[in-house]
């Protein structure tokens, strides 16, 4: 199992090596986005500030939100990798092999976790060295929170990939989910700004990840003290096995329909 995960991981990095510019562009685009929010913070300070209750400025808030949102994007990367394998044709050879589906899924999760951590570390180093953020960070708690969060995010995108494998109608589920969570999960603004709609936010795992991450990042909180952590743990215990089951099921059904290698 471990050897298979290692082989899949190395394969992903070797393929990524071919697209160096895309990785640089990805890093650069999020960096630019953060610069935009730095200026928004300067212009609308008092308006936005009243919704933030952690004694931090808007830029500090959005910095951590974006780090966590980046891991949710990592889940989206899993979806993209599966689609890449389907369109290149190799997917059929990967899943029609003895005991490869679970290591395949695990390798995708690990890959997205490693890439997102690499990106987040770059942002952290830049923002911290420029004095834009003043963290009071509990690092181990932060890593554990990110680990659990990324299991939840990956599970969601594995489920959306399964729908694409089954129905061949494109990217509608992951697109809608991504838009929905970016509006309601408190990425760009605290959910208190949503008024009555903030109830919807509680259904989204990203909301709880962002809330917990802010407390760990700026208030040195321990993960076990946070109710959001237990909510995320519950999400992961349900979604992780469910996603593997749905993924395997969708592959079996498409083998029966004869359209596994179609996109």
């Amino acid at each position: 199992m471990l050897n298979k995960i290692k082989i899949f991981l190395i394969k992903n990095f070797l393929i990524e090596k071919n697209y160096k510019f895309s990785l640089i562009a990805q890093l650069f685009s999020l960096f630019l986005t953060l610069i935009i929010f730095f200026f928004i913070d300067s212009f609308f300070k008092s308006e936005v500030q009243k919704h933030i209750d952690l004694n931090i400025n808007y830029f500090s808030y959005i910095f951590v939100s974006f780090i966590v949102f980046n891991y949710s994007g990592g889940g989206n990367l899993i979806y993209q990798k599966i689609n890449f394998d389907i369109t290149s044709g190799v997917f059929e050879f990967i899943v029609n092999k003895k005991n490869t589906i679970t290591p395949y899924i695990l390798s995708l999760w690990l890959y997205s976790l490693l890439l997102s951590t690499l990106e987040s570390s770059v942002y952290f180093i830049i923002a911290h060295s420029l004095g834009l953020i003043k963290p009071n960070l509990n690092l181990i708690s932060f890593f554990i929170l990110i680990l659990i969060s990324s299991i939840v995010f990956s599970s969601i995108y594995i489920i959306t990939s399964s729908f694409v494998i089954l129905f061949k109608k494109g990217d509608i589920f992951s697109f809608l989910f991504s838009v929905f969570e970016s509006i309601f999960a408190g990425v760009y603004f605290p959910i208190s700004a949503l008024g009555d709609f903030s109830q919807l936010s509680k259904l989204i795992p990203l909301t709880h990840s962002i809330k917990a991450a802010q407390k760990i990042f700026y208030q040195n909180a321990y993960f076990w003290e946070l109710k959001e952590f237990y909510i995320l743990l519950s999400f992961s215990l349900i979604l992780c096995p469910l996603s593997v089951y749905i993924f395997k099921k969708s592959i079996y059904i498409t083998r029966k329909w004869g359209n596994l290698n179609k996109y």
């Binding site: 082989i7 393929i15 071919n18 190799v90 059929e92 050879f93 089954l166 079996y252 004869g258 359209n259």
Partner: protein
């Protein structure tokens, strides 16, 4: 013995949307030690049949029995079967042949180099990206993977289409030498090409 019993298979283009019916109550058995040639006009199910035996497709009805065991398609015995089909889709274009081999679990470079003689592939192509290879060399690279898997059931779909004459002879020699221990089924539109090694020809249209 590989026994296909009352197989039904249709392709669905989308959920519950029937597109093409390929097999209806199809039965046949294949024995060990015989090289079978599978022929049929295009679209009559040569590749589909190989993919069902390889577990890439699941028949909607019927049974596949391999050496007296009814196959469970949810837990398919993939470790017994090698399928060569469509050489463009088995390997990642962005990886070299060597990296693709590693991806399929073959890391011993000397062992890979030894096998190159079976298909007359030059060593330097091992270090070339798969997308840069000609169709013939792509087929050779994927054939090496099939040979290295060394599984008891070998299914080949048009393996000779892009090969030069010398390589065709080498592959035929390999198949003849190893057939005693294996089930070998070759789907082709060019029956004459493998006449000298084929023991039995099956025309799917006759069986249907």
């Amino acid at each position: 013995m590989i026994l296909l019993k009352n197989i039904y298979f249709s392709y669905y283009s989308a959920p519950f949307k029937l597109k093409i019916k390929v097999f209806e109550n199809f039965s046949f058995n294949f024995n060990k030690g015989i090289i079978y040639t599978l022929t049929a006009p295009n679209g009559y199910g040569k590749t589909t049949l190989l993919k069902i035996i390889a577990g890439f497709l699941v028949p909607q009805k019927g049974e596949l029995i391999i050496e007296n065991s009814v196959v469970n398609f949810r837990d398919f015995p993939y470790d017994k079967i090698s399928l060569f089909y469509n050489q463009d889709r088995a390997f990642y274009n962005q990886l070299t042949v060597k990296e693709n081999m590693y991806f399929y679990g073959f890391s011993d470079i000397e062992e890979i180099k030894n096998k190159l003689t079976y298909v007359n592939l030059k060593t330097e192509f091992l270090y070339e990206k798969f997308e840069n290879l000609s169709s013939g060399n792509k087929a050779k690279a994927v054939l090496i993977k099939t040979i290295m898997e060394n599984k008891p059931i070998i299914l080949l779909d048009e393996p000779f289409s892009y090969l030069d004459q010398e390589s065709k002879e080498s592959v035929k020699k390999y198949l003849s030498e190893t057939k005693k221990e294996k089930y070998i089924i070759i789907a082709t539109n060019n029956e004459k090409e493998i006449k000298e090694i084929s023991d039995k020809t099956i025309r799917i249209t006759d069986v249907k």
